[in-house]
Subunit: 243 residues, 2 copies
Amino acid sequence: MRYFIQLSYKGTAYCGWQRQPNARSVQQTIEEALSTLMHEQIEIVGAGRTDTGVHAAFYVAHFDCAAPIADTSKLAYHLNAILPGDIACRSIYPVSDSAHARFDAVEREYRYYIQTHKDPFSRESAWQITTPLDIDAMNEAARVLLATEDFTSFAKLGSNNTTNICHIYRAEWVQIECGMVVFIFRANRFLRNMVRAVVGTLVDVGRGKLTPAEFADIVASRDLSRSSSSAPAAGLFLTDVKY
Amino acid sequence: MRYFIQLSYKGTAYCGWQRQPNARSVQQTIEEALSTLMHEQIEIVGAGRTDTGVHAAFYVAHFDCAAPIADTSKLAYHLNAILPGDIACRSIYPVSDSAHARFDAVEREYRYYIQTHKDPFSRESAWQITTPLDIDAMNEAARVLLATEDFTSFAKLGSNNTTNICHIYRAEWVQIECGMVVFIFRANRFLRNMVRAVVGTLVDVGRGKLTPAEFADIVASRDLSRSSSSAPAAGLFLTDVKY
């Protein structure tokens, strides 16, 4: 029997989603909790990797188990009781045996938060930039992404992507409340490190180090060495996965 | 010369606002930073105490210094650079020598946040209650507070209040987003521990342990032993002080 599990987690204390030999991952933490509760060895397959310190407000994974789960709500309740406070199970539901949390996802959304004044409450969930940012210029540059398919300029070297082609559905900076701006980035797929590399380069536009036209040149160059440093992990949230 | 300083701080790591002999307070942290920057011993007087772990989204204090500050924005900038990340200075401005951050405050607002499902992101800023709460009943009970002046039922024993009379301007539970409710509580003044004792007792109404009528009886009794346990510090924010 195969099940989808919807999760949210604060990534600060983890080496990311993916199991690692010498560090605590979200995947391992959930697999251990599910295995304890279900009295069998459970392996989960996630919708994608998130890096060290990156958060997920919405995440989907699948797992198989020998017998049907009698009461998925009860399992979710017990799972929340034994999982640490920084990982929450939102729901568990049965799917067909061929459903796949990673391969069947058709759309994902990331949000990147920037706090533009010193804020005691968002240090682990936003990039704090107290120098002025030109949000209009950042949005002018972001519109270039909507017309882009090849994201080689923002693809991490050494990652085993078979293609660097992505279809972007939304790429927009929005002022959400006094001092907080969020970059909403939706696509069918994202390359490893792509969101943080795009955000880092857009922030250089906001700081006046790059013009929107220079940003467009960097995108068109398909040259990773021209993009800026990646934005810090703390500001990044996976916020949606659609099937 | 006297100055007002507007602040915000995350209280998690502190023993509260007030200086204590053997624990780190917000007051001590700011006094040390100001004294370093201004090359004289600075003492600050806050708008009120906040307890261990309680936050302030908006806080006001005053301090005196020997010579006028040439550039208050620059001082605020340098102060933010040397203060830890969980304390922020919003502004510094000159006031008359008789202005007093505590005695001149005519209105204060606290907000208490309750998260009604397990949430990895608000563990240090909300009380997580995953059992059902009847918000309508909590609001019916809260309306009793608007007609109340004597808050002896929620006054901490041993505190040196000269009077337990408070004038309440707002006492209302508001659903702010999926799974988060906030109690907005405005008054001319608050007694020590009052907000957390009121919230703890209102939550017992929400859980069905008390009816709104029983809540009204507790308020009218002026008997501290009848109110419920105080709500945890993490959910409480001082959010406004008016002069």
